[in-house]
């Protein structure tokens, strides 16, 4: 297969309608290197661009939000998958995306441990449905970048024997690169760092044939919100923390760019946002309940941009309701560079200027629909 190199020096992307105070910006020179060709219909945005199924249930969590009702979650997921696909039977809905011989990766998010992660009951229900359509447990990989986060999330007791749990690195130390693909990467010098490559996880490029993405509803200090796009992108490549430094963030273009790299773009076929709980400030972490809230909902689709566009409003609305600054606010009055303590203490404080425009930018890469007027949301109450 031919090696494909792209060198791009792009002008600024157009400003999204309704996006406040977003200035045009230069996209740094970067190179995408991959040997993989796109599928005839890439998984992102997949067969349902602009379509989002929102399933809400007050009963999915206990009153205080600490306990998850797995039975209600199962019903939410069944209703969501049927509504997304228009199928009558659940197995047929899942067969739309996965075949029995697929090797399936489930991209969880364990970074918001302990409170806002891809919930074990949600992950278990995905695994159960995969096995219902004939995928063997040995063909299923729960994956995340860091083992220490997976250890805390502790998915194993919730899963059938044989399901693989995989981390690319022990922890975020950047010394263990053996699980990253040296031939599939995005290269760009962002802040003068010496290591200018972000490499795709080998599991994704060399083993998985399909990926199901299970992000959460989370604020993020650098991107504004972290949902489908960032979970699949920053959770699939090495050396990504380098994109935000001393108050400045390159996430605006880097998130979508990573998500667009083959084969991750073609193989990510389903987005299931676990919004049972969320975090409205100081994300993507949720070590305490201080900024945790309870949307009690799940979003289903194949279009990561459409879901993330809704996510931006969910986070921003929650922040407004709590009297905190908007994720769109780029003024420096709320900026305290690298002052994590101040950020954790005050919901107005941010340590980096947020880049919620990354969602719109991803749409310019063909990853989905960011225009709210073109996003069709079907709401279901369980």
């Amino acid at each position: 297969m031919e090696r494909r190199d792209f060198v791009k020096l792009l002008a600024a992307a157009p400003i999204a309608p309704g996006v406040r105070s977003e200035k045009p910006r230069q996209i740094p020179r970067h190179k995408i290197v991959t040997n993989y060709k796109p599928a005839a219909v890439p998984g992102m945005p997949g067969p349902y661009p602009g379509k989002v199924i929102k399933v809400k249930s007050a009963k999915c969590l206990s009153e205080n939000g600490e306990q998850i009702d797995a039975g209600v979650v199962r019903e939410m997921m069944e209703r969501g998958m049927l509504a997304l696909t228009g199928e009558k039977k659940l197995v047929d809905a899942w067969r739309r995306f996965i075949k029995p011989d697929d090797v399936v990766g489930i991209k969880v998010n364990a970074g918001g441990r302990p409170w806002v992660i891809s919930s074990p009951p949600v992950v278990a229900e995905v695994v159960r449905n995969l096995m219902e359509i004939g995928v063997k447990p040995q063909q299923i990989y729960i994956y995340e970048r860091f083992q220490n986060q997976l250890n805390e999330a502790n998915y194993a007791p919730h899963l059938p024997e044989g399901v693989n749990i995989f981390a690319a690195e022990g922890a975020n130390r950047r010394l263990d690169n053996s699980n990253y693909d040296p031939l599939t990467y995005v290269e760009s010098d962002l802040f003068g760092e010496e290591d200018t490559r972000s490499n795709m996880i080998r599991l994704i490029s060399e083993k998985l044939t399909k990926i199901i993405n299970i992000p959460n509803i989370k604020d993020h200090g650098a991107t504004g919100a972290t949902g489908c796009l960032k979970n699949i992108a920053y959770g699939g490549f090495s050396n990504v923390a380098r994109t935000h430094f001393q108050g400045v963030s390159h996430t605006y273009w880097f998130v979508g760019t990573l998500a667009s790299v083959e084969p991750i773009r073609s193989r990510t076929v389903l987005q299931i946002m676990d919004g049972l709980r969320g975090v409205w400030h100081a994300g993507p972490f949720a070590e305490t309940l201080k900024y945790v809230f309870y949307p009690r909902q799940m979003l289903f689709g194949t279009d990561p941009v459409a879901i993330d566009r809704l996510l931006l409003d969910i986070i921003d609305d929650e922040r407004k309701a709590r009297g905190a600054s908007s994720i769109w606010d780029r003024s420096e009055k709320y900026l305290k560079i690298d002052d994590v303590r101040a950020r954790d203490a005050d919901p107005d404080v941010n340590i980096i200027i947020r880049e919620p425009g990354h969602v719109k930018y991803a749409s310019t890469l063909g990853l989905g629909v960011a225009d709210l007027n073109r996003i069709r949301v079907k709401e279901i109450e369980v």
């Binding site: 090696r3 130390r173 950047r174 010394l175 263990d176 690169n177 053996s178 699980n179 990253y180 040296p182 031939l183 010098d189 802040f191 003068g192 760092e193 010496e194 290591d195 200018t196 490559r197 490499n199 090495s238 050396n239 923390a241 380098r242 994109t243 935000h244 430094f245 001393q246 690298d338």
Partner: protein, 340 residues
């Protein structure tokens, strides 16, 4: 009093000369081997032998007893050691004020000092856990260095010194993108330090080198002395000027390894020093030019093979698997066909 001082100076001079001679690898080679300065009593001779250490520097009054114990003992008095240039403890320095998610690790390394002063005499005073890296560092730059080590490092030091002894002996000239005419100033030294830490390969020249991508002489119109005031910014400026595409060497996967590249028209030797104190697993190397698959000699990992070897676009890439403190890679030129 004067004659006493004269005698003392003579003793130090003779002892200096003896160390200098002994630090030569062997008669057929100009390669030096670092040597351990040992302050424990002669009863520790067995422990040294068990660690594979056959040569040590000791206080002059203990030389005979150490030689009687079967070790090759070289006299070195404390004043003589202290006359030498003291080197930094190699490793990652803790700099909490500038720590951040993407901030570069601050490496304390001495390679540039060896390059700047190839006939210099150096010593390390090392806490536990640093001796093997320091020995490798001195070896990589062929520096004449004495190591005052912690006892706890004896075994690891012995292993490293034996490993270094097993490596090819001959010196090859440095390969560099940058030529520096050294004015001897501290600021130029700091520029060399920053270039080293970024693996921006440089060598010191007497006159401009037509082979270098950039020639630097501070105090000129192009490079006024003030250009070196912020050595980090200056190193970055040079990097931009050379461009990453034209750099002879790139390292991916970490920012804690410093490299030394030497070679001639037919071969190259790349030596890697890992300052992190932790094992590295999977470091990508990109070398401009077409080379065959490298032969890896990795301390602690015999029989290692490079992974994902690739020659394309006028460059050779491969992955070095697990390494701890030190690795030597031998490469031969001559692969011209596009390979994967």
């Amino acid at each position: 009093m004067r004659s006493l001082l004269f005698v003392l100076i003579c003793v130090i001079a003779i002892s200096h000369s003896e160390i200098a001679q002994r630090l030569q690898r062997d008669d057929s080679s100009s390669r030096r081997s670092p040597i351990i300065y040992w302050t424990q009593g002669v009863e520790s001779a067995e422990a040294l032998k068990k660690a594979g250490i056959e040569q040590i520097c000791v206080s002059p009054d203990k030389v005979d007893s150490w030689r009687a114990a079967g070790l090759n003992a070289i006299p070195a008095s404390p004043p003589e050691i202290e006359q030498r240039e003291k080197l930094l403890v190699p490793g990652i320095a803790r700099r909490p004020n500038i720590a951040g998610a993407t901030s570069r690790p601050w490496i304390d390394a001495n390679g540039w000092r060896f390059i700047r002063n190839p006939s210099g005499k150096f010593y390390y005073e090392l806490p536990a856990g640093k001796a093997a890296l320091a020995a490798a560092e001195a070896f990589v730059y062929n520096g004449e260095a004495i190591l005052k080590i912690d006892q706890a490092d004896l075994e690891e030091s012995g292993k490293m010194l034996n490993f270094l002894r097993s490596l090819p002996q001959e010196n090859l000239p440095p390969i560099a993108d940058i030529a520096i005419i050294d004015d001897g100033s501290p600021s130029t030294g700091e520029v060399m330090n920053l270039l080293s830490r970024r693996n921006l390969l440089f060598r010191i020249v007497k006159t401009q080198s037509p082979r270098a991508l950039v020639n630097i002489k501070f105090g000129t119109k192009e490079y006024p002395a003030s250009a070196a005031a912020d050595p980090s910014a200056f190193a970055q400026k040079l990097r931009r000027r050379i461009t990453d595409e034209r750099r002879t060497l790139r390292i991916y996967g970490n920012e804690v390894v410093i490299c030394r590249l030497t070679g001639d028209g037919s071969r190259a030797r790349l030596q890697l020093l890992n300052y992190s104190g932790r094992e590295i697993d999977g470091m990508r190397v990109r070398l401009r030019g077409n080379y065959g698959k490298p032969e890896l000699k990795i301390f602690g990992y015999p029989n290692s093979e490079p992974d994902d070897y690739l020659v394309a676009g006028g460059a050779t890439e491969f992955t070095v698997p697990k390494m701890r403190s030190y690795a030597m890679l031998e490469l031969s030129r001559g692969i011209t066909k596009k390979t994967k």
